[in-house]
């Protein structure tokens, strides 16, 4: 009998980070055996330690290319850097969650367990070398996020967000599955390397079934990254879900979705990129235009940031549409920069908000500078970064994405990107203006910056400026983000 399917310890190293994160999540569930007071206090620490420990297998494998479990999973420079982005996202999420979930009365250990389970799914997505692994990891992260969106279960808005996300998310999963089935029909395999082989050698490239399958996979993953025209759920879910969850999924789910999109389309469908590049071109252009233009009309900061996250998905799609190595590196750099500026902005939203998700109107940021100068200054940095103004990480991120697109001769897309960035300056600057130039409401009390939330704010603001002034180190790292060609 053939024993080749029996995995070795080396296989575990490929999925080491996600295994550690999932184990930490289960440890949190087991901690429930202890009195509630202890398990609640221990949960964020277990979560943080698990995320920190996940860096050990990442540094062990480094950027070396290894496959595991009969080619079901793969680790390479791209996978490791995406996992690092996700682990940092998790750490910062814990940083701004501890204060928030106490204020909103959501202080349960399950919150951290679900965040960790979602991260393990996201990490697995970056390592998937088989379409069935893409689907499996998508479900791990989606189901955790559906529950997290409804975590404020006594609030109708949170329930509504959870249900909407669940229904539309299941719909998108069905699209993805249908796409996988069609690709199997066209290529005769669902392993990414096998599909690439079939396209290269057996002439499956002109098979309409395969092309339709690729399209449906793009729809399923496009939903997760909130690309137009699959963005309908985003504003409602982002507004209704607890703020800390929204912040987490606006970065985490996006990073995971882009990791899968990049790997599937550049490895399996790499040889038919002439077919999908125009489609991604159009989706990227639409996403940048719709996201930025609709964000102008928002009066609620959570909805504004939701449309802003749609717009940023568009900029990242520009890097993907370029379909070259510069585009992949730019994508990783963008997600790393976006992670700090976006999570930072959400941390200020959490700090300035009041119990019961109150105080999210942009008007309630009037004179924030006089209520908490530090938070207002940090928010100013994040708004400038999100708008893509130098000297912030947001500017460098856009610069790299656009130069990758220019390498691929996509001048039109770069022009659209630059013009929509100009539009975005309006709505980001408006927040800055009301914070610094308007008087606070007479009854508005000063806001104190509390422990871990303050640290999170300081770290994100410092990182955002650092990436703008000295982007070289991260850019070199992002250059190592090569997707292994099977």
């Amino acid at each position: 009998m053939n024993h080749s399917f029996v995995p070795k310890a080396a296989d575990m190293l490929v999925v080491g980070p996600e295994t550690i994160v999932a184990a930490a999540a289960m440890l949190i569930l087991l901690a429930e055996l202890m009195p509630a007071r202890i398990s609640k206090a221990a949960a964020p620490w277990i979560a943080a330690l698990g995320l920190l420990a996940s860096f050990i297998p990442m540094t062990t494998t480094g950027i070396s290319v290894r496959t595991g479990f009969s080619g079901m999973v793969v680790t390479d420079g791209f996978a490791v850097l995406m996992k690092a982005v996700l682990a940092v996202t998790g750490l910062l999420t814990i940083g701004f969650s501890t204060h928030y979930i106490k204020r909103e009365d959501l202080d349960r250990a399950e919150y951290y367990a679900l965040v960790l389970f979602a991260i393990s799914g996201m990490m697995l997505m970056a390592s998937s070398a088989n379409l069935i692994m893409v689907f499996l990891s998508l479900e791990i992260l989606s189901i955790s996020l559906y529950v997290l969106s409804g975590f404020a279960r006594t609030q109708p808005r949170s329930q509504e967000a959870s249900l909407k996300y669940f229904l539309l998310g299941s719909f998108a999963s069905a699209f993805l599955l249908y796409g996988i089935a069609l690709v199997y029909g066209g290529a005769g395999t669902i392993s990414l390397a096998g599909i690439a082989n079939a396209i290269a050698s057996e002439g499956a490239a002109r098979n309409p079934v395969l092309l339709a399958g690729a399209g449906l996979i793009a729809v399923g993953l496009g939903f997760k990254v909130a690309a137009v025209p699959f963005q309908m759920w985003t504003p409602d879910v982002y507004e209704g879900a607890p703020s800390s969850v929204t912040a987490f999924m606006s970065v985490g789910a996006k990073a995971a979705g882009f990791a899968a999109l990049a790997r599937v389309f550049l490895t399996a469908f790499g040889d038919i990129k002439v077919d999908w590049m125009p489609a991604l071109w159009a989706v990227a252009a639409l996403t940048m235009i719709v996201g930025n233009v609709v964000a102008v009309a928002q009066t609620d900061i959570k909805r504004m940031l939701a449309y802003s996250s749609i717009a940023h998905a568009g900029y990242i799609l520009v890097g993907l549409a370029a379909a070259n190595q510069a585009g992949v590196s730019a994508l990783v750099f963008y997600l790393a920069a976006y992670l700090f500026m976006n999570l930072g902005a959400w941390a200020v939203v959490i700090l300035a908000g009041r119990r019961g998700e109150a105080g999210t109107e942009i008007d309630s940021y009037n004179g924030l500078f006089w209520r908490n100068p530090g938070a207002a200054a940090a928010m100013g940095v994040f708004m400038f970064a999100l708008a893509g103004l130098p000297p912030t990480g947001g500017f460098m991120a856009k610069f790299y994405v656009f130069s990758a697109a220019l390498q691929a001769n996509m001048v039109g897309l770069v022009v659209i990107g630059a013009l929509t960035s100009l539009v975005s300056v309006y709505y980001y600057a408006r927040v800055t203006v009301v914070m610094f130039m308007r008087d606070p409401e007479p009854d508005a009390a000063p806001i104190s910056t509390r422990g871990l939330l303050g640290v999170t704010l300081a770290v994100t603001a410092a990182a955002t400026i650092y990436l703008g002034v000295l982007p070289g180190q991260l850019f070199q790292l992002a250059g190592l983000a090569q997707i292994a060609r099977p």
Binding site: M1, H3, V6, L29, L30, E32, L33
Partner: protein, 118 residues
């Protein structure tokens, strides 16, 4: 060629015979004290006649979901038991890890009182 299917025929005869035998024996030997609740098709408190569109306690849903989870465990255990000899120590460790993960879930739902029917 057809003889290869003979064991299946034997299985069908045995299975049918066992089911019929058990039913007949319990019909002949068992005491009968019917009451209205016992005569209903399902003895779980659901009214079998009437509109199906009524609200049911969410506890049914929870129990059904937990049942599926642990049922899947059994589904994996059977094929594993068949090839146990070939998998050796590795197969044992792998299954222990799998069951340990499910035990974490079991301990959790138990601790949270999800298995209690108030």
């Amino acid at each position: 060629m057809l003889s290869a299917y003979f064991p299946i025929l034997v299985l069908i005869v045995l299975a049918t015979g066992f089911a019929l035998g058990a039913l007949t024996l319990s019909h002949v030997l068992g005491p009968k004290r019917p009451n209205p609740a016992k005569s209903e098709p399902y003895e779980c408190g659901m009214r079998p006649i009437g509109s199906a569109r009524q609200r049911i306690p969410v506890r049914f849903y929870l129990i059904a979901m937990l049942f599926i989870l642990f049922d899947i465990e059994i589904v994996f255990l059977y094929p594993w038991a068949i090839v146990f000899d070939h998998l050796g120590l590795f197969g044992l460790v792998e299954m222990i890890v799998f069951i340990a993960i499910l035990v974490v879930g079991y301990v959790y739902v138990w601790r949270k009182g999800a298995l209690e029917w108030e």
